[in-house]
Amino acid sequence: MISIENISKWYGEFRVLDDCSSRVAKGEVVVVCGPSGSGKSTLIKCVNGLEPVQKGKITVEDMEVTAKRTNLTKLRSRIGMVFQHFELYPHMSVRDNLCLGQEKVLGRTRDESNAKTEQLIERVGLSAHIDKFPGQLSGGQQQRVAISRALAMDPIAMLFDEPTSALDPEMINEVLDVMVELAQEGMTMMVVTHEMGFARKVADRVVFMDEGRIVEDRETEAFFGNPESDRAKDFLAKILNH
């Protein structure tokens, strides 16, 4: 469903992505990990065109993200994205956060979008908070709203950019639980995260990045059981041994 072919990206002289290729099949969950500054977040933002690439090709289903003529707005409306800092709209209630895209992009009526919103918010257990503003919610609650906001658009795939990195430790699980549930329902997901427990549990494959390059791209068990590169071994040792 998502195919990334030999993409490279520069910030001036600095090469953030160096000839990266990978793919995510329909219903697959791929976790992208690696040390900070390795280009993981940049890579995932290229998938829906939030970041342009200078070389290479990305396609999502039949749409070519990197082609000039592609209607990026339309493409993005079909791919959900969840951000590290939630990025809920602070001046709108939870309800309006979810309704905005449904009404302005998908053209749903207020009744339709309300029904969908209430159903999704109930699913993440936040019905009591639906008319509150994001500032009145905890980080974990905000991130669950953000996931619901992305799901409200009925996406064909979901991108997660370090969804738990900005959370207090005790709130990480409530967000991961929602993501696990999504994965088990068969959602196509690409997830940048340091949560190796999550990766082990639901990922079909793990992509390991370092210095803008994809160093490993393997089945989850193979990656954790027997990483090939020294960089990945080193990384896993640091992240798993405490």
Binding site: K45, R76, S77, R78, H85, E87, Y89, G101, V105, M153
Partner: protein, 218 residues
């Protein structure tokens, strides 16, 4: 000060009130027009398309390097030439104020827009909203909420600046006061009264600004 006589104010109240109404409506309309045009200029200035952003930058820098009184003169003489017919002092002054204030407002609004995190724009883009929808529903509402105190402060300055319209023979509050002062020979009374009125209005405005700022930080 034996002959300090406030009855001159009372006798001329309707005349002064007309002047004050002109000052206030000119301020109100110019603030409104200035914010609308200023928003447009700010968006142009932030555009990634160089000709558009340079055009806005050129306009803003030109207007900000010229005294307001000169801009009022320009439009008083130029607008009738451009349109081929006179439009009256009020409208030419209004256009001048809108064009002038828009340059100042656009800088305030530009800073306001830039104060909104890029992630907010990304979130809107990721949902499939287009550029105008993102500005309209996500960026500008937050930016204006942050900017409100400065926008009002700029409005207070504008209110004081409306006293310059005497140069195109409009009878604003200041001009009306000075006409009364001279014809009645009551300079002290009238100028003290005028100062008092300006003070009360502007001070009320700045109290309002302080409340807005408190509401923002609360």
């Amino acid at each position: 000060m034996d002959d300090f006589d406030v009855s001159v104010v009372i006798d001329n109240l309707p005349f002064l009130w007309d002047g004050l109404q002109l000052s206030l409506s000119l301020t109100g309309l110019a603030v409104l027009g200035g914010i609308v045009l200023g928003t447009l200029l700010a968006l142009m200035r932030l555009s990634g398309f160089a000709p558009v952003s340079l055009l806005a930058a050129g306009y803003v820098n030109l207007i900000r390097s010229v005294p307001l009184i000169l801009v009022i003169f320009w439009f008083y003489f130029l607008v009738p030439l451009a349109l081929g017919r006179p439009i009256g002092s009020f409208y030419s002054a209004l256009i001048a104020f809108v064009m002038f204030e828009a340059a100042y407002y656009s800088e305030i609004i530009r800073a306001g827009i830039q104060s909104i995190r890029k992630g907010q724009v990304h979130a809107g883009q990721a949902t499939g909203l287009n550029y105008w929808q993102i500005q309209r529903y996500i960026v500008l509402p937050q930016a204006f909420r942050n900017m409100l105190p400065i926008l009002v402060t700029q409005g207070i300055i504008l209110f004081q600046d409306t006293s310059l319209v005497f140069v195109v023979s409009l009878r604003d509050f200041m001009t009306a006061s000075s006409i009364v002062a001279r014809t009645e020979g009551r300079l002290a009374e009238m100028y003290i009264f005028a100062a008092l009125v300006y003070f009360v209005i502007c001070f009320a405005g700045s109290l309002f600004v302080r409340r807005l700022q408190r509401a923002k930080t609360a």
